[in-house]
């Protein structure tokens, strides 16, 4: 009967489509362990010395210096902010500066009065935005991760589908990012970033448009903490790669508010205070 034949035909097509769907799934995912999930709202960790020191960003060497200062009985009567500033100076002069090219070192650290974000309300680029404090909203799907930062309402996409940056990819402030999973970690490689500022005051400098960054994100503390390390290479500003780190805490109750009321300064002076 024509009707029965039609139903058999439709069923056969359906089975074929299901089969095609299964075979088109990326081979890397078939039978592999579930991907780690970073979705949700993250924000500043609770008050603690190391996390405060790394509020925007820090280096392993800077953290070790801070820990050593805190553990030194000779410092028992020195307030935390004084110890923190000493560790910041160490990090700036003994860790970051030796890795800078001579030209960059001369202008390091940049005068905060020269910050385009301050002067012209210019949103941060990639190499500052990834260190932004406060809320970070992560939306993860099969082929991409969307990250939204509360500071400047910065947004970026990390592609997970093995695509490559097209050769003609124009440099943009947030660059082009591809990611992959390595065990429990999300590894993100970023390039095609417009020349801009790297880091956040008081340890910041100008980078070039050849910057490449490898971020590595993991969830720790029972999933309630998001840790990031990032290794940055840039032939224009760096003679050696620099490695920074930062952390966020799980913050499902927080939200990101509009960032629309920046006003350029009406008064300022150059040569502001240094740590």
């Amino acid at each position: 009967m024509p009707y029965v034949k039609q139903q058999i035909f439709i069923a056969a097509i359906g089975i074929l489509m299901i089969g095609c769907g299964q075979t088109s799934e990326p081979a890397a995912r078939a039978g592999s362990a579930p991907r780690p999930d970073f979705s949700g709202m993250w924000s500043d960790p609770p008050a603690a010395a190391v996390d405060d020191f790394c509020f925007m960003t820090c280096t392993d060497e800077g953290v070790s210096k801070l820990e050593a200062l805190l553990d030194d009985p000779a410092n028992d009567n020195r307030p935390y902010q004084e110890l923190s500033r000493e560790a910041v100076r160490y990090q700036r002069d003994e860790v970051i500066r030796p890795r800078l090219n001579p030209e960059t070192s001369k202008a390091f650290p940049i005068d905060p009065a020269d910050d385009p974000g301050f002067l012209r309300c210019e949103p941060w680029g990639f190499a500052r935005q990834i260190f932004a404090p406060h809320q970070l909203d992560v939306r993860q799907s099969d082929d991409r991760i969307a990250m939204r930062y509360a500071e400047w309402d910065g947004r970026r996409t990390i592609y997970l589908d093995d695509r490559r940056a097209p050769g003609s990819q124009p440099a943009t402030p947030m660059g082009f990012s591809v990611g992959r999973f390595e065990g429990d970690a999300l590894v993100v490689e970023t390039s095609a970033v417009t020349a801009n500022l790297l880091g956040i005051f008081p340890a910041w400098f100008k980078h070039g448009d050849q910057l490449r960054a490898v971020e590595r994100y993991t969830r720790t503390a029972g999933g309630n903490r998001l840790e990031m390390t990032v290794t940055i290479e840039d032939p224009v500003s760096l003679r050696q790669p620099l490695r920074f780190r930062k952390a966020w805490a799980w913050a499902p109750g927080e939200q990101i508010f509009p960032y629309t009321s920046c006003e350029p300064p009406t008064e300022f002076k150059k040569g502001g205070s240094r740590p």
Partner: protein
């Protein structure tokens, strides 16, 4: 003008040029972190926005002249984490506000603490964090000394 320089606090802050970790919004080009001023006045405007919340406070000077002071605060994204809402202060409130003055001495201050009409004190979120960490540091030193 009911404007006082709180000497004790000024001396304390002169050892603390600025709080390193909250200086990401170019504080030092505008404000002098080594000095503190206190103003008392009436709130005429409060905008809980990003990147910085702003208050305008009407301060009457000794000559009876009204001066509109601008109070620059951390942003909405930070203040809400420390208990601030649009209703924390209301236009017409009599407020006592301490903070860092500008380099030029203009009628503008970077908020450090505020005393509300009910006597409640609200601190800059950075100071809240500092206090908590300083307590942890003392405890760490105390435990080491007991070993």
């Amino acid at each position: 003008m009911k404007l006082t320089h709180s000497l004790g606090l000024s001396l304390l802050l002169s050892a603390l040029p600025y709080r390193v970790t909250t200086a990401h919004h170019a504080f030092s080009p505008v404000y002098d972190g080594s000095k503190t001023v206190t103003i008392v006045g009436t709130l005429t405007d409060f905008r809980l926005v990003n990147p910085h919340a702003m208050m305008t406070v009407d301060v009457v000077d000794k000559a009876g002249k009204h001066v509109a002071w601008t109070v620059e605060m951390p942003g909405l994204l930070s203040l809400t984490r420390h208990g601030w809402t649009p209703r924390t202060v209301t236009v017409g409130d009599r407020l006592t506000i301490s903070g860092n003055p500008t380099h030029t001495g203009s009628a503008r201050v970077a908020f450090k603490r505020i005393v509300l009409p009910n006597g409640k004190e609200m601190l800059d979120p950075g100071e809240d964090t500092d206090n908590a960490i300083e307590q942890q540091r003392r405890e760490r030193a105390r435990q080491r000394q007991q070993k």
